[in-house]
Point group: C2
Chain length 131, copies 2
């Protein structure tokens, strides 16, 4: 049973707000990182690089949790507990889209000259809490 995002949470994920994602380390302790984010309906979309800690953690255990609070209204927040599915397809397009959204750049250039393989992390919400 997937959960739905309230309209206010959709608006936050559509805006230029940074979010935090928690994945699960091999020993069970949460690993946190700051992320660019967007959405497709109720699913959240995050970009990562194949082989990075986040990617390895999600391959082992696809459960993850995302929290966003607006920078100028930090007493509001949305917490999404979800399950990630990952694909290489569209990986380049997603990071370019996020770079445009967050930096205004035409494309994401920090992967240039690297052998980074971009992964699309699609997070389907299982439970959503908004305050």
């Amino acid at each position: 049973m997937s959960a739905q995002l309230p309209e206010i949470a959709k608006a936050w994920f559509d805006s230029v707000e940074f979010a935090t994602i928690a994945t699960i380390e091999p020993d069970g302790q949460p690993q946190l990182s700051v992320i660019w984010i967007s959405r497709d309906g109720d699913d959240l979309l995050v970009s990562t690089v194949a082989g990075r800690r986040k990617h390895r953690n999600l391959e082992r255990d696809p459960r993850c949790t995302v929290l966003l609070f607006p920078k100028d209204a930090p007493y509001s927040y949305v917490e999404v507990r979800g399950t990630a599915s990952m694909t290489l397809e569209g990986g380049r397009e997603l990071i370019d889209e996020h770079a445009r959204k967050y930096t205004g750049a035409e494309r994401y250039t920090a992967d240039d000259g690297t052998d980074n393989v971009r992964v699309v992390v699609r997070i389907t919400p299982d439970k959503v809490v908004t305050h």
Copy 2:
């Protein structure tokens, strides 16, 4: 072996920045919440209420992870993986101190008229990553 906070992270935890804490749910999935925070040396101090989800999670598994990124410099961050110890002693003083720091109020009034029992969560860092 506890870890130390770099000077830049100390400055962030001393300032009026909101942080995110991850605790571990009974099923292993991370639970995230937005928190007021301060520090005592290298230890982080967080206030919660006895019986709340965060408190119950930390009683069962004291491992937690804190992430802070400055609201106006979100490409910098500190991630602290730590272990929490909890005490009721000083619980009222800590939440009043945080209210002064974050809101300028003389004391924390939202507990007035409730039977909230305030808990001091002291997080000793095991590993610190700063970027």
